[in-house]
């Protein structure tokens, strides 16, 4: 049974249809990437999975249970967390408070403290900055905090929306290395949305190409990297 399955999902903003019948499936432990041009519907796909932009038609199954009509907080409770586009750190909460918000639905305080230490070990700069308001961090630090905050929920599935956007190459490589590490050490399943198809296809296992609200291609990353169309449209070759 796949961990997450989308079956013919259609999402609208008012009368504008952003997703035109999307189907995809993710197995536990995989890293899947979703690539596509601006406005293709990548962020909408993630917001639809999280219940913020619920679909008008289609089914979403998580661990076999339908979640397409569930409230966002219910979906988080089931084990799906998102690092949204633009990081969206709470600017006036400290780093520690931002992390605590990530663990909002958890009650196991000793485990929460352990997870925080684990994340501080991945991103030591966050530990240094822990009493600072989130809004005073640099873009790269905010991205680290956003990922850490999502991981504080101990999700089974982590959705990442363009984590490398606006970051220096060195920092985005660090972020990608850690995404890989989280996937291996914690067995966290990852759905990664990226414009940087080159990097994404290198760390993912499989990928989907989204165009204009529809999935137009799918396959393992080696296949996609070799695909002429992908090369031309997304790899700039």
């Amino acid at each position: 049974m796949p961990l997450l399955e989308l079956d013919n999902v259609a999402t609208f903003y008012g009368s504008i249809q952003a997703l035109k019948g999307i189907s995809l499936s993710i197995a536990a432990g995989e890293i899947i990437t979703l690539i596509g041009a601006n406005g293709a519907g990548k962020s909408t796909t993630l917001m639809t999975i999280c219940g913020i932009a619920p679909p008008r038609a289609g089914r979403i199954l998580f661990r076999g249970a339908a979640i397409e009509a569930a409230e966002p907080h219910e979906i988080v409770r089931r084990g799906i967390s998102q690092v949204p586009e633009g990081r969206r750190i709470f600017p006036h909460l400290t780093v520690t408070e931002n992390l605590a918000m990530g663990a909002f639905l958890r009650k196991d305080s000793t485990e929460i403290a352990r997870d925080r230490e684990y994340l501080f070990s991945l991103f030591p700069i966050l530990k240094e900055r822990r009493h600072q308001p989130g809004g005073t961090l640099s873009g790269g630090e905010q991205q680290m905090l956003a990922i850490s905050r999502a991981l504080m929920a101990r999700p089974a599935l982590l959705l990442l929306d363009e984590p490398s956007l606006g970051l220096a190459p060195l920092v985005s490589r660090l972020i990608f290395r850690i995404i890989r590490q989280i996937n291996e050490e914690r067995r966290t399943t990852i759905l990664l949305v990226e414009q940087n198809a080159n990097l994404a296809l290198r760390i993912a296992h499989r990928g989907y190409v989204l165009e204009n609200g529809r999935i137009t291609l799918e396959g393992n990353c080696a296949e996609l990297l070799g695909n002429e169309e992908v090369k031309r449209a997304y790899l700039g070759m």
Binding site: I52, P72, H73, F90, A100
Partner: protein
């Protein structure tokens, strides 16, 4: 000097009441960016509920402090239930609507609640019993401060500290701050935003009810319209301090209270409200975000 002290304490008392009500305005604004015009009516309902409960208990032979405590508890719960219900009926259905719609709905709620009390009770002023026991330790200072003034200032201080601790240190308080800063992100982290908004209305309404009971005890009479002017003054205080800011609401309340007290004491008592609004205009010209308000927009 005595006169100065008298005015100082008078202003502190007034300002405390403004602060208690302003806290509700500022909390609600912080979370959903709505000026809850029905908030003053919650304050009035709190005073009325306390009056009714106190009258019933007195009829049954109860006296003294126990009447005050019971009446206050019932009034606070009742007002909190009203605040909760007003949000559910008048604001929640309009959450996605243009910003003007909930504002108009709020004004409608305010008019409705005033007229509801007018019809259910009376348009006359009703006497409100002084339920406070004597506080003999205040006797030497009785020229400056009476028992109701003392209790008003003390209660406001305690309520403000309790609220600040709640918002700063509890899980729900943190979720409130997060929701105020980025509601969508709070949802993505598992916060039940509807519950947070309801909590905000409940807490704000409870504080307003406390203010209503205290001022009714102090002034000794109430009618259906007392929420209107108090609401406008408290709203002024919230804007003065920086709407959305909790310390700002308290500071704004005190500044407004003192301005009114000193201006009427030293200048003229005919223009009490004029001074309040002149101060508002002045501060908004000098500091548009209010005394403690954040000058930058905090919405992402």
């Amino acid at each position: 000097m005595d006169y100065f002290l008298e005015l100082l304490i008078g202003g502190l008392t007034r300002g405390s009441i403004y602060a208690l009500i302003a806290l509700g305005y500022t909390m609600v604004y912080g979370i959903i960016e709505l000026i809850n015009f029905a908030h003053g009516e919650i304050y009035m309902l709190g005073a009325f509920t306390a009056l009714i409960v106190a009258s019933v208990l007195t009829l049954h032979g109860m006296t003294g402090l126990s009447v005050l405590i019971l009446a206050s508890v019932v009034a606070v719960l009742y007002a909190a239930a009203y605040g909760f219900t007003v949000e559910k009926i008048a604001y929640k259905p309009l959450r996605q609507a243009p910003r003007l719609s909930p504002l108009i709905s709020a004004i409608g709620m305010s008019i409705f609640l005033q007229n509801y009390v007018l019809l259910a009770q009376t348009s006359d002023f009703l006497p409100f019993p002084n339920l406070l026991p004597a506080l003999p330790f205040l006797d030497p200072y009785s020229r400056f401060i009476g028992p109701t003034e003392f209790v008003i200032v003390l209660t406001t201080a305690l309520a403000t500290v309790a609220l600040s601790c709640f918002i700063k240190f509890t899980r729900l308080g943190r979720a409130m701050r997060a929701t105020a800063q980025d509601r969508g992100m709070a949802m993505l982290l598992g916060v039940n935003v509807n519950a947070v908004i309801s909590t905000t209305f409940i807490v704000g309404s409870a504080l307003a009810a406390i203010g209503g009971i205290l001022i009714a005890t102090h002034v000794g009479r109430i009618n259906f319209a007392i929420g209107f002017i108090a609401g406008i003054k408290a709203f002024t205080a919230a804007v003065l301090g920086g709407i959305g800011s909790i310390p700002g609401a308290v500071l704004g309340g005190l500044v407004l209270g003192w301005t009114e007290s000193f201006a009427t004491g030293y200048l003229s008592s005919d223009y009490e409200d004029v001074f309040a609004f002149c101060l508002l205009v002045l501060i908004l010209i000098l500091r548009p975000a209010g005394i403690l308000g954040r000058s930058t927009v905090q919405k992402v």
